[in-house]
């Protein structure tokens, strides 16, 4: 990440809100993005991430709150004066202009000299490795090529901010993965500050410095991918990022740590988790355990050393996925669980029908409140 050159954030959103009638599409979003940072707004459709992006671009006015770009209040500045590059899911290339004319457009709008336009268009085409395609019209380009041209067009004028609205959503998986890396590398190379919208959690994890998880018009959690995966603040985040096993119950404090109690079972919760979750004793809570953090042992080996929990289960399916094996299990209470184990470590493999104990280290389970509990 490039150093914070001007010493001020590239983008600051404060209390951003958007009402459509009585419905809040965006309901109080605060976000501060550093210069050169790649921040992804991730969430299900209707969570407010795209509306937030459109407000940053100036396409939609906010109901309340402020938008500051590079220290300047842009809350009421029209889109063409915000100096923001935007990339759309459907590319939005001008169909009546060639690729080169498309890329030249923002430079012409800034009244650049003809010679400079020619030079910078050529540079931008080279940047996206489409040097030989400048004379083609959008309809003569493939989807991936069109998005590369759209990217070149959005960066050629070195905007303060680069906004991308699910730019790879219309492409097939392989191309998408290749372009993820390309977009990421070029953005870093240019030192561009990027706000990226997607509903694809894998894409978010691959590309972003930080991810803002959106839910119901708010940022549910903001952090690096590792933070979100290892320390989700809510069931929603845990469920949205990666796979998880969720044990619901009631939280009971016990000294520094505590227990999650359900019916006649109880599982130990580490003191660190209790402190982080800040839940009151007796409140509805859940433990989130990632599939790769569960170990499987024979039903008689309790495996329950100090600092671990165990739950009994039976193997329903053992799925071979190349480098890993994924087990679908049924716990004793009838609920589903899943475990992912690396293959080739000499670890014992299990068959459908096997009865096993699922063991996890107390520190590997995250305690969150359970809004449905």
């Amino acid at each position: 990440m490039p150093p914070d050159r001007q010493g001020r954030p590239a983008l600051v959103l404060r209390g951003l809100q958007k009402l459509f009638g009585d419905v809040a599409a965006v309901d109080g979003v605060d976000l501060e993005v550093r210069q050169g940072e790649f921040v992804t707004l991730l969430g299900p459709s209707g969570s407010g991430k795209t509306t937030t992006l459109r407000m940053i671009a100036g396409f939609t006015g906010q109901t309340a709150g402020t938008i500051e770009i590079d220290g300047v209040d842009m809350s009421h500045v029209p889109p063409h004066r915000r100096d923001v590059g935007m990339i759309f899911q459907n590319y939005a290339l001008f169909p009546h202009m060639t690729a080169a004319q498309n890329i030249a457009f923002p430079l012409e709008m800034r009244r650049a000299k003809r010679s400079e336009i020619t030079r910078r268009v050529a540079e931008a085409l080279a940047l996206v490795k489409l040097d030989a395609f400048g004379h083609r019209f959008p309809r003569q380009l493939s989807g991936g090529q069109q998005q590369r041209i759209a990217f070149a067009r959005a960066v050629v004028f070195h905007p303060q901010l680069l906004l991308m609205d699910e730019p790879l959503g219309a492409l097939d998986k392989k191309l998408r993965e290749a372009l993820q890396l390309e977009v990421m590398h070029i953005s870093r190379q240019l030192g561009a500050t990027v706000i990226y919208v997607t509903h694809d959690q894998e894409e978010a994890l691959v590309m972003s410095d930080r991810i803002a998880i959106f839910s119901r018009g708010r940022i549910e959690q903001l952090g690096r991918g590792e933070d979100l995966y290892d320390r989700p603040v809510s069931l929603f985040v845990a469920d949205f990022i990666g796979e998880s096993n969720i044990l619901r119950g009631r939280f009971e404090r016990d000294g520094g740590g505590g227990w999650l109690v359900r019916d006649d079972a109880r599982w130990r919760v580490s003191a660190a988790q209790v402190e982080r979750a800040a839940l009151g004793s007796g409140s509805a809570a859940a433990l989130v355990i990632r599939p790769e953090r569960l170990r499987m042992v024979g039903p008689d080996e309790t495996g329950a050393t100090a600092g671990t929990n165990t739950i009994q289960a039976s193997v329903r399916d053992a799925l071979y996925l190349g480098s890993t094996r994924k087990y679908e299990l049924t716990m004793m209470d009838g609920r589903a669980a899943r475990v992912r184990r690396q293959l080739g470590g000499g670890e014992r493999e299990w068959q459908p029908g096997d009865r096993v104990g699922l063991v996890w280290a107390v520190d590997d389970a995250v305690l969150v409140s359970d809004p449905q509990g």
Binding site: A57, G58, F59, P78, P79, H80, R81, R82, D83, V84, G85, M86, F88, N90, A92, F94, P95, H96, F105, P106, M109, R110, R139, R153, A154, F157, L163
Partner: protein, 266 residues
């Protein structure tokens, strides 16, 4: 095979029905073409002999050539006005958000539905008071009103099929509203404007009902001239004029069709 054997007669039946429909629609129109090259002095079908003298007469006769010029001028002016006004109206009603938008839209499109004779009578009584009945100004205004719906419909279709993100993209790239319109919107709705303009021209070009009310002995358009002539002398020149009119209209319609296919939706 078994399917084809019961399908074949059905297809023939459909073809026959379709063919007959086209025949009955086209023949009364096309019948003027052979009639225009008759060598006889009477407007008869089938024509007798072959001669181009009625075309010569059409071109040399002052009444016909004046009518032709009047019609062309009126149609051109009405088409230009209708294209400009209709495009603005289409943008306003397709993009604008204001109370009574659908009412305004219905009003603009009403000339398509209201019987022309009613429009003619209404306009005549108003234009007489304004002292523009019987002049080109009045007829251009009337024909503009009749032609605007065609432009609005065509341009609205272009606007609807156009990707709104293109305008947003242009704005984010630094183009203000005016430059966005000139550089992006206008080129992309141009085919719709062109098609609408051609339809507008044709609307005025062969319009006779309103024209009968709004023309005078000093200012007469081609269709009105034909109407007058047919009532007085039945002379095959009318057939020659009709054929010319038909040729112009058909050519323009084909052009409009081509323009519409060059839509921005690609």
């Amino acid at each position: 095979m078994a399917i084809d054997s019961w399908r074949q007669p059905r297809r023939l039946f459909l073809l026959a029905i379709g063919g007959l429909t086209v025949f009955f629609l086209m023949v009364p129109t096309l019948v003027v073409v052979p009639m225009s090259v008759t060598s006889s002095n009477a407007l008869t079908f089938p024509p007798e002999g072959f001669s181009t003298r009625w075309y010569e007469k059409m071109l040399t006769d002052r009444q016909w050539s004046t009518g032709f010029i009047n019609s062309a001028q009126t149609a051109l002016l009405a088409a230009l006005l209708a294209t400009v006004l209709g495009t603005l109206a289409a943008i306003g009603t397709a993009r604008g958000r204001f109370p009574g938008r659908s009412a305004v839209n219905a009003l603009i499109l009403s000339p398509l539905i209201v019987p022309v004779i009613i429009i003619a009578i209404g306009m005549f009584s108003v234009f007489v008071r304004w002292k523009i009945a019987g002049s080109m100004v009045g007829l251009v205004m009337a024909h503009t009103a009749l032609a605007v719906p065609f432009v609005v419909v065509n341009v609205t279709t272009s606007l609807r099929t156009m990707d709104r993100n293109l305008e947003l993209a242009a704005q984010s790239l630094g183009a203000g509203p005016v430059r966005t319109f000139r550089r992006i919107t206008l080129p992309l709705i141009m085919p719709g404007m062109l098609a609408g303009g051609l339809f507008a021209f044709i609307t005025s070009w062969d319009e006779v009902v309103v024209a009968i009310f709004l023309t005078s002995a000093r200012f007469r358009t081609l269709p009105v001239e034909m109407w007058e002539q047919v009532r007085q002398v039945v002379d095959p020149t009318v057939a020659a004029v009709s054929t010319t009119l038909l040729a112009v209209t058909t050519t323009l319609l084909l052009l409009a069709f081509v323009a519409r296919r060059q839509g921005p939706a690609r």
